[in-house]
């Protein structure tokens, strides 16, 4: 089949990102041609600031060099400005006469700097700040001239001023408004920013209207005159007073333009063969000037160019981060508030910290942070997810606190860490490596960093630090993902919730049916979605859905935990942590017979046999003749118990018996993630019930039930759910809570992750207040675990999966 022709005009960040997305999903659909007015391949425009500041070189900020175009079969016309679009013949014409015809045209012409219409604006020495040429001009000027004026106290102007200062010039920033960055900052934060920039040697002339630029004897600009009659010397004037979407080309072709090139939610212009992305477009009346929304547009556009017909761009909320080394500043959303908003502020002028959050209906709608921006990304995430913050309002200001809990020496301010400081304790990745990868490989998202450096890809406790590094390296271009609408994985655009709903509504019982019905992009998923789908089917249709063992992680397939050398560990179940001489003797015999190298008492009150060969597993299980402890599963792990009233002199309740009953009740329960319980016999809480998914504490008059606790990477204290009187009630409430979690949480959510999304009130409503619903939930759980066959016994008897444990020989 003959390929369709795609022509792109504008070789900038948004357009090339759209091509990258397109090549990812549909590499062979188009023959692609690109026109760029600049003589350079694709570079990271936002890093021009560090180039100007002397912190990076042009070479380091290239995103895709010429080889990339060649490798992907893209014809590249550099240094050729397109001057005409002939929509009837479907051709574009460049300045030098080059003609290319198209089936689809993609406009990504970016924007032009706005030039103040004052006398002298065209003098030599007056420039704007947009591309490599401008940056070079500034670097040259700094070598030979002294006085720089930057007109415009916004993001771009301040970054230019900072760079010129570092290059040795005397810099004054002229701004028309009473304070800097008025569109991103409130007055207090702007004041603090100005102070710290003044400490770096910058000067400011606020509320000054430029009247004229005056030439010197050599014809070059020499001074700037203001409307109030005052004057400042100037051998270099940088205009950074805003940008205007570059729409001239589109307009000349009769494509509808209003502020920018008008596009619909699929990034299509009024001519259906012509798409547009980037700063040149106006979407729902808004023209964006930051990278993050442009990347979202690029993704949607690529999807439609690839005829996938899915994905709509619905606009973006943006956040800002100033990329001036040593200045920590963050703002997002509506930070000025309105009649029905509330504000929480923290102001410490001596410590140089200022934070303001604006709330409406218990949701964050905006915020400004200066000095300590560690939690900027977290707030921004809460904002985008529209999460109800009522429950956490008290300590909202003090941040997420998940940064630096364990594993990185309590560090929580990325900017202050040394390059050699370890950020990711799991994979041993230090700050310098991450920053280097972000810059050199042109990374913009957490996912990218995870893929390239492995940082934050294991336990995730350093996610906050990595997000800070991203934010301070690429500025506002970094946008935390919209977790609410995040697709499950690269195989689909559906979210976890959508997939689950479809499995329920359409009674999808096996993988093939699910992938087919939901139009998965891959024939049999990937290692990330397959286990999730398997769980969703099993939990929704117990006893009916097909449990596909090849879609389970090896531990759940082998019913043992794989170790780093490929051997396995075996942890037999000891109900409630109780054992006896008979079991211990069997364990001792097995250890001898199979020469098991390590025997360890686990934190879950049972015994772990480590270093068992896979072939030996069925034999070990047979000789042990004890049930599986599921130490390997996303399932019930242990119910830890204390000694309790049977022996303990403080005990008020028989916690051991309660624990054994719970463990039997929940045996065979698969869940989104592992589930751990504990029961203590009195509030001294020796079984540590406060950090368990379900923690039960005996009191004189009955039992208190706590939920959502977690030890480990980030310690979470369990929250009080209800107090009940009897053992039966403990079983029913705990079971109902866990069933709600099983039915609603995303795969790999621990109870706390899900709980913090839906809120404790929601859980109380369904589990505590609504008795009928509680009973129904509990009944569904009991149905799901009914007749569960112990997997070890089945395999020891050679009934199931025999081949899984046998080696072949050649």
């Amino acid at each position: 089949m003959k390929k369709m022709k795609l022509v792109m005009v504008g070789n900038g960040m948004a357009g090339v990102r759209a091509l990258e997305e397109l090549l990812k999903i549909s590499p062979d659909l188009y023959e692609i041609t690109v026109f760029g007015a600049e003589p350079h391949a694709n570079y990271n425009r936002i890093l021009l600031s560090p180039v100007l500041a002397g912190e990076m070189t042009i070479k380091e900020i290239m995103l895709n060099d010429v080889d990339w175009y060649e490798a992907n079969g893209i014809r590249l016309h550099l240094n050729k400005k397109v001057v005409k679009i002939d929509r009837v013949r479907r051709e574009v014409v460049a300045e030098d006469g080059t003609v290319e015809s198209y089936d689809r045209l993609l406009l990504a012409t970016g924007s032009n700097p706005f030039i103040l219409p004052v006398p002298g604006k065209d003098l030599p020495g007056v420039i704007s700040y947009r591309d490599i040429a401008d940056t070079d001009a500034m670097i040259e000027a700094a070598k030979t001239h002294k006085h720089a004026i930057v007109i415009g106290g916004g993001l771009l102007g301040l970054e230019a001023a900072n760079g010129l200062k570092l290059r040795g010039m005397e810099v004054t920033v002229v701004h028309i408004m009473p304070w800097l960055m008025e569109r991103q900052l409130d007055r207090v934060a702007a004041g603090m920013l100005q102070k710290s920039l003044e400490d770096k040697g910058l000067k400011f002339a606020l509320e000054k209207h430029t009247a004229e630029l005056v030439a010197g004897p050599d014809g070059r600009v020499a001074a700037i005159k203001f409307k109030d009659g005052s004057e400042l010397p100037a051998d270099l004037v940088v205009m950074a007073v805003g940008i205007r979407p570059n729409t001239a080309l589109a307009e000349s072709a009769g494509i509808y333009v209003n502020r920018g090139i008008v596009v619909n939610d699929t990034m299509q212009t009024y001519d259906p063969k012509i798409y547009a992305v980037g700063e040149c477009v106006a979407h729902r009346g808004i023209a964006y000037g930051l990278v993050a929304p442009l990347f979202e547009m690029a993704k949607v556009c690529a999807n439609h160019l690839a005829h996938m017909g899915i994905g709509l761009y619905k606009g973006s909320v943006t956040s800002t981060k100033l990329k001036v080394t040593g200045v920590d500043l963050f703002s997002a959303g509506n930070f000025t508030g309105g009649p029905d908003t509330e504000e929480i502020t923290l102001n410490d002028p001596v410590g140089g910290v200022y934070k303001k959050l604006v709330l409406q209906d218990n949701k964050i709608i905006g915020g400004v942070m200066y000095g300590d921006t560690a939690d900027g990304s977290w707030y921004f995430q809460l904002l985008k997810d529209k999460q109800d913050v009522h429950d956490i309002r008290d300590h909202l200001m003090f941040g997420q606190n998940h940064l630096g809990n364990v594993g990185h020496q309590g560090q929580n301010k990325a900017a202050q860490m040394a390059d050699t400081a370890e950020v990711c304790g799991c994979n041993g990745v230090c700050k310098g490596v991450i920053v280097k990868a972000i810059k050199e490989k042109g990374l913009f998202s957490l996912e990218d960093v995870r893929k390239h450096t492995k940082a934050s890809s294991s336990c995730g406790s350093c996610t906050g630090l990595v997000e800070q590094l991203l934010a301070s390296t690429v500025g506002g271009a970094y946008q935390p993902a919209d977790t609410a609408a995040k697709p499950m994985c690269g195989c689909t655009d559906h979210t976890h919730e959508e997939v689950r709903a479809a499995i329920r509504a359409n009674k999808l019982l096996d993988h093939e049916a699910t992938y087919g019905f939901l139009e998965w992009r891959t024939p049999n998923g990937c290692a990330s979605c397959r286990p999730a789908i398997n769980y969703y089917m099993l939990s929704t249709w117990p006893h009916e859905a097909v449990d596909d063992s090849q879609s389970r992680f090896i531990n759940e397939r082998a019913h043992a935990n794989i170790q780093k050398d490929g051997t396995y560990s075996v942890v037999p179940r000891m109900w409630g942590g109780i054992t006896n001489s008979h079991e211990l003797r069997k364990i001792a015999d097995v250890v001898d017979k199979y020469k098991i190298p390590t025997v360890k008492v686990t934190g879950g009150q049972r015994i772990d046999l480590l270093g068992v060969k896979k072939e030996d597993l069925p034999g070990v299980w047979k000789d042990l003749d004890m049930p599986s402890g599921h130490a390997y599963g996303k399932s019930l792990r242990t119910v830890k118990t204390c000694v309790g009233s049977e022996w303990c002199r403080f005990g008020t309740q028989d916690s051991t018996r309660m624990g054994i009953e719970l463990e039997h009740d929940l045996f065979g329960m698969w869940s989104p993630h592992k589930v751990k319980l504990a029961v203590s016999g009195c509030p001294r809480n020796c079984a540590e019930s406060g950090i368990k998914d379900v923690g039960v504490i005996g009191v004189d008059s009955g039992w208190e039930i706590y939920v959502g606790g977690n030890g480990g990477i980030r310690t979470e204290v369990a929250q009080f759910l209800v107090k009940v009187a009897t053992h039966e009630e403990v079983l029913e409430y705990s079971g109902a809570f866990l069933q709600l979690y099983r039915e609603e949480a995303r795969y790999l959510d621990r109870t706390i992750h899900w709980l913090s999304r839906v809120g404790l009130d929601y859980v109380k409503k369904h589990v505590v207040e609504d008795a009928e619903n509680r009973k129904a939930l509990y009944a569904r759980l009991k149905f799901a675990v009914k007749d569960y066959a112990d997997p070890w016994r089945e395999r020891a008897a050679g009934k199931v999966a025999k081949q899984d444990f046998e080696m072949l020989s050649a």
Partner: protein, 113 residues
């Protein structure tokens, strides 16, 4: 019938391993060999068969125990994705393990070792 796209020696000169059905679909079996250590023989959803040294290029994890999808396997230890055809890690990870020619004839799997 399925084969890999490598130049194949005649199946008769190769070692007989097992029948196709003895390898689970989207799974693998391990073949113990004297010369090359453990070799993982994979079968995908389309009944294509692949053979790789059972040793992840990252830290030596047993690839045979991973999740097989499409024409790849995800290592069980740290989730690197490895191409079944050539044993090479999917970018940005880097590294390859040895791959072996393998062939199915009349439902029997032959391995070239």
């Amino acid at each position: 019938m399925s084969t890999t796209e490598l130049e194949l020696p005649a199946a008769t000169q190769m070692k007989k391993i097992c029948t196709l059905t003895e390898i689970p679909r989207l799974g693998a079996r391990v073949v113990k060999t004297a010369a090359h250590g453990n070799i993982a023989v994979f079968r995908n959803a389309d009944d294509e068969v692949f053979a790789l040294e059972d040793k992840c290029p990252h830290k030596g994890g047993p690839l045979s125990q991973g999740i097989v999808y499409g024409k790849r396997v995800a290592c069980p230890l740290h989730n690197w994705n490895i191409e079944l055809k050539d044993g090479c890690a999917v970018a940005p990870d880097q590294g390859c393990v040895r791959s072996f020619a393998v062939q199915v004839q009349d439902g029997t799997v032959y391995l070239d070792i």
